[in-house]
Amino acid sequence: MNISLFYFVAFLSIFFSLLVIFSKNPVHSVLYLIVTFFTFTVHYILLNAQFLAIVNFIVYMGAIMVLFLFVLMLLNLNKESEPAKSPLLKIAGVVAGMCLLVTVAGSVKTLHTSNPIVLQSPTLGLVKNLGKVLFSDFLLPFEVSSILLLSAMVGAVLLAKREPNDA
């Protein structure tokens, strides 16, 4: 059951990521990317990584994709504004693509089926365990990262605030 579900979701991930590349309209690309990220979320749940799944769902599918859409709207992509690529660039692209193909083919040749990974503890990715680790072993990094956030916050306000003499 689990295995067939994995193959189904894996198929969907690859299918939608191909659609991301091949669709002509950039807005469609972004929408397909959202679906791709959703299939990743399903993968995380299958791997029992609840926290990662939720973060992926909220941050990637939610925040970052909205950001992408905004940028697309602001950029105003048209066929006319797209710069024509020089033949030299095209040749370089073909050469680079072929190199990648050879590398991928070479690494595929050495592929073999790995042993199925058995989770050492099935509760590994649960939010509860993550919280426990964060507040025991990784307490200091967790606290110190507050300096990072505070510094970024002060800086963002500082840069965004209007100067009185700007008018």
Binding site: P141, V144, L148, S151, V154, G155, L158, L159, P164
Partner: protein
């Protein structure tokens, strides 16, 4: 640990002082707080501290030496900031706060005992610097510097993080001690992931210290940022980057030296040539210092190429000499920018006649950067070169000496302009704060140069 807490609390206090409009208090409180932090750091000397907080931080002698160096350089640079930030904007307190935050990041960077702390330390420092580079909001070049630094920095952080992830993937731990025992216990069965991890971390760290071919951001960012921030970036930040770099490689990856040494060797040579040859063609003093900082990154990489018992001491003394000389150079540049408004070599013409003291101090600083004997810079280069020679990197040293000769040429251009191009000019006023900074840096440069035993084998 106490140092980190002191600096962080100090940053918050300064932020609140800004809220209550206590502008005259800002600088004294900041300097006073940093002196307390410095004392706290020095009290940890030779205490044989063990890793604390489940192996997150180890405030050993190495960390004490480098955080003391970083804090003292910051104090000197902040003394130059009197009346400087006021000209840019009204939010002076925030500038001090962000500088202090980045210093807190630097303390984490030199004392980490866990890769997660390394990452957080580097991020705290970098995020603060992205902001500091762009504080001249109406200046196009400052905006460009901030954006460029941010984009490139974010990119390199990706490399660093990916490297850390791969190392975790093969060792199953972030702890330096565990990584060290993984490397030394089974040197034949190290996973390929681990090697890729080392290379990716190398890219990330080399970017942060501005070594070629990852140096492209350096000239623009150093040139565009406000001069005092450039002084901070090219002294304190560079020192911290190397301290973090060396700590990782010295502690963890030393047994794998045959694997990564050739990579760093080539990068060192490229860095030396790129930095020195491009510096020759600069017309702006500030840009020349930016390129010379790239070439000094090359000299400091010697300590990692010739990794051994003396590496920590080598980087320390080199960073000390380089920081002292660079602070003098930037202090002079700030004074001249006040007067002439430009930072080209021409603005130094005839300085010796009106300001003999200023010209003399700058000459000593240039000689120290060039590595002339009886200055600290010579001792720094000497330690680096003798380390490299002890490991039979003879060609590297030959190339480095060629580069040092090229360096003398462009450093002496300033001296020639000051002493041999007489142009009528008014005297540059030197405020008392500047005099203190210049005298302290001069004293350090000459004292270490004449009597290097002062700091020999500290670490």
């Amino acid at each position: 640990m106490n140092t980190l807490i002191t600096i962080t609390v100090l940053a918050l206090v300064v932020l609140y002082l800004g809220l209550f409009k206590a502008k005259t208090l800002l600088l004294p409180v900041t300097i006073g707080g940093l002196l307390v932090a410095l004392t706290n750091a020095l009290l940890q000397w030779n205490q044989n501290n063990q890793p604390v907080f489940k192996g997150m931080m180890q405030y050993d002698n190495y960390a004490v030496a480098f955080s003391a160096l970083a804090i003292s350089s910051t104090i000197l640079i902040l003394l130059l900031s009197k009346n400087y930030f006021e000209k840019i904007s009204e939010h002076v307190a925030e500038y001090y706060t962000i500088i202090l935050f980045s210093l807190a990041g630097i303390v984490v960077m030199v004392s980490y005992h866990n890769l997660s702390m390394l990452f957080i330390g580097i991020e705290i420092m970098s995020v603060s610097l992205y902001i500091l580079a762009g504080i001249k909001k109406n200046d196009f070049r400052s905006n460009e510097a901030a954006l460029k630094y941010f984009l490139m920095g974010a990119f390199s952080t990706g490399f660093l993080l990916f490297g850390i992830a791969l190392i975790y993937g093969s060792v199953f731990s972030f702890d330096l001690e565990v990584i060290k025992s993984y490397v030394s216990l089974n040197p034949t069965k190290i996973s390929p992931l681990f090697y890729s991890g080392i290379l990716l971390m190398l890219v990330g760290l080399l970017f942060k210290v501005g070594a070629a071919p990852f140096h492209f951001w350096t000239p623009d960012v150093y040139d565009g940022s406000p001069t005092i921030i450039t002084a901070y970036m090219s002294t304190v930040v560079k020192t911290a980057g190397f301290a973090a770099f060396l700590r990782l490689f010295w502690f963890c990856f030393a047994p794998l030296q045959p694997f990564w040494m050739p990579v760093i060797l080539i990068i060192t040579i490229v860095t030396l040539f790129v930095g020195n040859i491009t510096a020759l063609y600069q017309q702006s003093f500030k840009r020349m210092l930016a390129y010379s900082s790239i070439s000094h990154a090359g000299y400091m990489l010697f300590a990692i190429v010739a990794l051994g018992g003396n590496s920590g001491y080598g980087i320390f003394i080199y960073a000390l000499a380089y920081s002292a000389a660079t602070i003098i150079a930037f202090a002079t540049l700030m004074l001249l920018q006040n007067q002439t408004g430009s930072d080209s070599f021409d603005s130094f013409n005839g300085l010796a006649k009106r300001n003999p003291f200023l010209a003399f101090v700058l000459t000593i600083s240039m000689l120290s950067l060039a590595g002339i004997p009886l200055t600290a810079g010579f001792i720094g280069k000497f330690v680096m070169f003798s380390n490299a020679l002890s490991q039979y990197h003879i060609w590297l040293v030959v190339l480095a000496v060629v580069n040092a000769v090229i360096g003398i040429f462009y450093y002496l251009r300033v001296v020639v302009a000051m002493y041999f191009k007489p142009i009528d000019r008014s005297e540059v006023p030197v405020p008392a704060y500047f005099k203190i900074v210049l005298l302290v840096s001069l004293a350090v440069t000459i004292a270490v140069g004449v009597y290097p035993a002062l700091v020999t084998n500290l670490i």
